[in-house]
């Protein structure tokens, strides 16, 4: 029986990494928010790998934090090992990755949610999205209860019509045996939303006591841990870290897989969904890279209070009996006991072309979505979309202009633009190579790039914002000082340069010039920089990067300026492409289907040529002239 339960501003469907950020953002912006989950115990669950961050994903976590999100703070509270990856490479590709205590991570997030004002948590399966005209009005849950909402954010992850496969054994559940959501898909279809079927997988978990670590390579964390969150004091997180372990598959492992490949649902045709190329199952790796004699397997703890170990690199959907054989053929795993089997999961998600870059549905006003439901993969990608969807749902209810992050402002912008504009046939994973302006989008300057947006929407407080402005000012002043402070060929300077294998000076140069030499940096030249002010570590880092890579950075800034011009040229919502006869047919169809918001977005649609864009500009100008 239907009944009206209670009214809210924003309803969030799902309590995974996207749902948590969405609900927190909306509630913190002062809106009455309700978050639905099929199980309150599964809030911020990490059903796959036990880590947060990694290359390019670490950037996303930093950006979420800069906007006022929770993921960075939460992992800083619950990590058990941390590493800065790519340290020997340029600053743009440095990336933080931490091993999480999964249980703790989930518990901490739940605590934060439970103690957030304006936020209600509700254990229920949402079965219907209610709407009037093309406007969302609320949600209905399995009991028949109706919750009127002004905006709804869908973060259903991998739960929609989910099924898990392990060989020919199929279970109709979400991840970890949790209840799947089977009814919502139909409701979405009725709203005119197009669904796709994606697939992903996870490896087995092994009992720690049955692993021989003595034959594996130990992988330790960094000596000095760097926090994810800009608000975390790094002194407070220098903990005793746990190790991960590295071992390898071998030819015997590969033989076992090849002999049984016909029993894998991927190859037998049982799985229809498209899997991610980034996280290939071990059977995929063996088939596609048959010349490789071994593959790495990282053994990672799932937490401090459990014996379960995650076998990173060996996800699989082979039947249980093959899994035993396969895992036990790996060095150090000869006596492995499997606590949880590896499995593949298939689920409904949307074609994200139906979304605006604000993550609002083009066809349903007030309906937003984020996370794996949008065809992405990964906790961090989910959180990044979650916070954007949550912020925009709140802004929508407040009647304010929605927030956009473009490709030049953050990896979040790249992620969302790729999803809503480009062809995507697999769960989308963030990669540094996807970002054309990555020299500007570093993990170290996420606060400088995005904190202002967080402040404007109301997630960053005045105090934090003032601190940011002060930081900006100090960086600017110090860079200017170094560019204008000259040093001559004095003996002290020459000796210093000799000591550092650097060419002696012939004429006076600025300190900045010296910093730009490959063998020197801001830190090293301190000795000859007598008037250096005392500055915080993070400010020094910015100063060094800005000076050292100034040439490359200014080139990218020029590219960004060019890019911004086209982003600013808005295309009216109701633009009728059929009227522009000079557009080639293919371009006309693609543009009409995708309804890009700007000339910039239009130019990134595959099948739309530069000439088509010129034609569009001329047509739009003509329209303007007629007004």
């Amino acid at each position: 029986m239907s009944f009206v339960a209670e009214e809210y501003d924003v309803g969030v469907v799902g309590a995974g990494h996207a749902g948590c950020e969405a609900a927190l953002a909306a509630a913190r912006m002062g809106l009455r928010t309700i978050m639905f989950t099929v199980s309150v115990d599964s809030i911020a669950l990490m059903p796959c790998n036990p880590n947060i961050g990694g290359t390019s994903k670490g950037h996303l976590v930093r950006e979420v934090d800069a906007l006022g999100g929770e993921m960075g703070k939460n992992i800083d509270k619950t990590f058990i090992q941390s590493k800065m990856l790519n340290q020997s490479k340029g600053p743009a590709v440095h990336s933080l990755r931490a091993q999480a205590d999964k249980r703790q991570y989930s518990m901490e997030m739940r605590k934060t949610l439970e103690n957030t004002d304006n936020l209600t948590i509700k254990q229920a399966e949402v079965v219907e999205i209610l709407s009037e005209g093309n406007k969302v009005t609320g949600v209905k849950i399995h009991t028949g209860g109706i919750f009127p909402c002004k905006a709804v954010v869908l973060c259903t992850g991998t739960y929609l019509k989910a099924r898990c496969l392990c060989g020919d054994s199929i279970q109709y559940t979400g991840p970890n045996g949790l209840k799947a959501a089977n009814e919502l898909s139909e409701s979405l279809k009725k709203l005119g939303i197009e669904l796709m079927r994606f697939k992903t997988g996870t490896p087995a978990r092994i009992d720690k006591r049955t692993i021989d670590f003595s034959v594996m390579e130990e992988q330790k964390g960094d000596e000095r841990v760097v926090p994810f969150s800009f608000s975390t004091d790094s002194e407070e997180i220098q903990i005793d870290q746990v190790s991960c372990w590295l071992t390898y598959t071998n030819e015997e492992t590969h033989e076992i897989i090849k002999e049984n490949i016909h029993r894998s649902p991927l190859y037998s045709g049982l799985i229809e969904g498209t899997g991610p190329r980034y996280c290939p199952s071990i059977e995929d790796k063996v088939v596609k890279f048959s010349d490789k004699k071994r593959h790495q397997v990282f053994i990672e703890p799932e937490g401090l209070d459990t014996n379960e170990m995650y076998l990173s690199g060996m996800s699989s959907s082979l039947p249980e009996d093959v899994q035993y054989k396969m895992y036990r053929s790996v060095k150090g795993l000869e006596h492995a006991q499997i606590v949880r089997n590896a499995y593949a999961i298939e689920y409904d998600c949307i074609n994200p072309h139906q979304l605006h870059p604000t993550l609002q549905f083009k066809g349903v006003e007030g309906l937003f979505s984020g996370g794996q439901f949008n065809g992405s993969s990964g906790y961090e990608e989910a959180a990044a979309q979650g916070i954007v969807a949550g912020i925009n749902a709140a802004l929508f209810v407040q009647g304010r202009e929605l927030m956009l992050i473009d490709r030049s402002e953050g990896y979040i912008g790249v992620l969302i633009d790729d999803l809503v504009t480009k062809e995507n046939h697999e769960p989308y994973r963030m990669m540094t190579s996807r970002s054309e302006y990555r020299l500007l989008l570093r993990q170290d300057n996420a606060d400088l790039r995005l904190r202002k947006k967080g402040y404007e929407v109301g997630l960053i407080c005045q105090e934090e914002y003032d601190a940011l402005c002060e930081k900006e000012q100090k960086i600017k002043e110090e860079v200017e000082r170094l560019e204008t402070t000259m040093v001559g060929a004095a003996k002290k300077i020459q000796t210093f340069l000799e000591q550092h294998n650097s060419t002696p000076l012939k004429t006076a140069v600025s300190l900045a010039e010296l910093i730009r030499r490959p063998e020197l940096n801001y830190d090293i030249i301190q000795e000859i920089d007598e008037k250096r002010p005392k500055l915080r570590e993070d400010i020094c880092e910015q100063v060094n990067i800005n000076i050292k890579y100034a040439g490359y950075i200014s080139r990218q800034i020029q590219q960004v300026e060019q890019f911004k011009k086209n982003e600013k040229k808005q295309i009216p919502k109701d633009f009728d492409y059929d009227k522009v006869k000079s557009l080639r047919l293919e371009a006309r169809q693609k543009l009409a289907a995708l309804k890009p918001v700007s000339i910039g977005q239009a130019s990134r649609i595959s099948g739309v040529s530069p000439a088509d864009i010129s034609v569009l500009l001329v047509y739009m100008k003509q329209k303007d002239n007629q007004k």
């Binding site: 990669m431 011009k565 522009v580 000079s582 001329v618």
Partner: protein, 462 residues
């Protein structure tokens, strides 16, 4: 609207005497100022008034390109309603293209098809009630240039570019894979390896560029020189091939003679006859510099028309000219000229052929005889024989030349980054630019190539 400065040849690409290079945009004057000088090599365009004409020379660095008239039109009183500089060039199509190239090197971008008109419209200069016309123009010009480039892009050059591109892509993908998955792929020592590979790519790129500049046979014609001692009739042969009127048109007093050339159509074959000034000089003044002069022009030529006087016996000078053609290993044909003259001891075709080992054709400039045979010979020598086997690369399109240049300079920047010890992720910036430039040459979209190649070639992820 769009702020960058564009340039292109604004007149039709035919054989008219004067062609115009148009530069439009904020920096039009600045760009022109960098390359336009008076006789004393002083800058002329300091603060010109709008709608004034200036006389001077276009220089590419130290090289004199052409003697020109420059017209300056200040915004908004110009075709595009932006600052416009137009350069009136007199030296023929080839020279005009060099002027354009010089303009592009000095800060302008090559205009897209229909872009001047587009700007004129967007800036409200042309008040078109029928903007459709502009849009159709853009599409049709675009299709035309696409078709044109595709026609040129068949066969060996396309394959070469695809090869270099594929190898570049592989390097980019390897770098990206290693940056994305540092626990699987190492970059230790990679810089040195890449540096060596780049040398090899650069060599390929430069070869394409050189061939495109030297051997753009199909569109620009075969670079041809007419040689022979004084008074064998080179001048009348030139006039016959060119047509008398055209020969006069290009005789502009004070124009540097070294670069004068004529484009002629001989039946269905396009010839570019170089050093026409030299021919006239030696004929007119009966100077003794005939051999010296010939030497230089033969070096540049792809085809040599070696003229002998049918009515006179061979001399030492004829033999010297023969030797220099032979030493340069050029394709040559001997024109036994003046067969219209009555003489008792004419040169015999067979004797000449035996001594000089080149094909010999009887010719009479006066009677206009022999041109068909000459055309037939060239057709054989260039378009059925060597043309295909040598795999010469034809890149006539300036846009494509510019793209190869962009690819080359981007690869050089990568080498610079390697030499300076920059971190590896910096390499990808310019590698990607080189890859994109080559992609635009063959009309391919870039988009997700890198990501696809990463997954295809490297086993990624945990």
């Amino acid at each position: 609207m769009e702020q960058d400065t564009i340039a292109a040849i604004a007149t039709a690409l035919n054989h008219s005497g004067i062609s115009i290079v148009r530069i439009s945009g904020e920096k039009a004057l600045e760009v022109a100022g960098r390359i336009f000088f008076n006789q004393k090599r002083e800058k002329i365009l300091k603060q010109p008034k709008s709608h004034t004409v200036h006389y001077g020379y276009i220089y590419d660095g130290q090289d004199l390109i052409d003697e020109v008239l420059v017209v300056y039109m200040k915004a908004p009183r110009s075709y595009t309603a932006e600052d416009v500089v137009e350069v009136d060039c007199h030296g023929g199509l080839k020279v005009t293209e060099r002027v354009l190239q010089t303009v592009l090197k000095n800060g302008a971008r090559l205009a897209e098809p229909g872009e001047f008109t587009k700007r004129a419209f967007l800036n409200g200069r042309i008040d078109l009630t029928e903007a459709e016309a502009v849009m159709d123009l853009i599409q049709s010009k675009n299709e035309f240039s696409m078709k044109n480039s595709l026609n040129q892009m068949q066969g060996s050059i396309r394959k070469k570019i695809e090869q270099v591109r594929a190898r570049l892509l592989h390097e980019i993908a390897y770098l990206e894979a290693a940056l994305d998955d540092p626990e699987h792929y190492e970059l230790v020592g990679y810089g040195e390896q890449l540096d060596q590979k780049l040398d090899c790519f650069l060599q390929e790129g430069k070869k394409i560029l050189k061939n495109s500049k030297n051997g753009a046979l199909l569109k620009d014609g075969i670079c041809t020189v007419i040689v022979g001692k004084p008074n064998v009739g080179k001048s009348s042969i030139l006039n016959l091939l060119v047509g008398k009127e055209r020969a006069i048109v290009t005789e502009i007093e004070g124009t540097t003679r070294d670069i004068l050339e004529e484009q002629v159509v001989l039946h269905d074959i396009v010839l570019r006859i170089i050093d026409t000034a030299g021919i006239r000089e030696t004929e007119d003044r009966v100077e003794k510099i005939g051999v010296e002069r010939s030497k230089k022009s033969v070096e540049e030529a792809q085809l040599v028309l070696f003229v002998l006087d049918w009515s006179k016996p061979l001399t030492k000078e004829d033999r010297e000219i023969f030797k220099l053609i032979q030493n340069q290993k050029k394709k040559a044909v001997i024109l036994l000229n003046k067969t219209d003259l009555e003489t008792e001891h004419p040169l015999k075709e067979e004797e000449v052929r035996n001594e000089f080992k080149f094909p010999v054709l009887s010719f009479s400039a006066k009677e206009e005889q022999g041109t068909e045979e000459l055309a037939a010979y060239i057709r054989d020598a260039f378009f059925e024989g060597d043309l295909h086997t040598e795999e010469e690369i034809y890149l006539t399109n300036l846009r494509q030349q510019q793209l190869v240049e962009e690819a080359i300079s981007s690869m050089e920047l990568v080498k610079q980054s390697i030499a300076q010890g920059m971190p590896e992720d910096f390499y990808t910036i310019d590698l990607t630019r080189a890859y994109e430039a080559l992609g635009r040459m063959i009309g391919e979209e870039v988009d997700d190539d890198v990501v696809d190649e990463i997954f295809r070639a490297f086993c990624m992820g945990k």
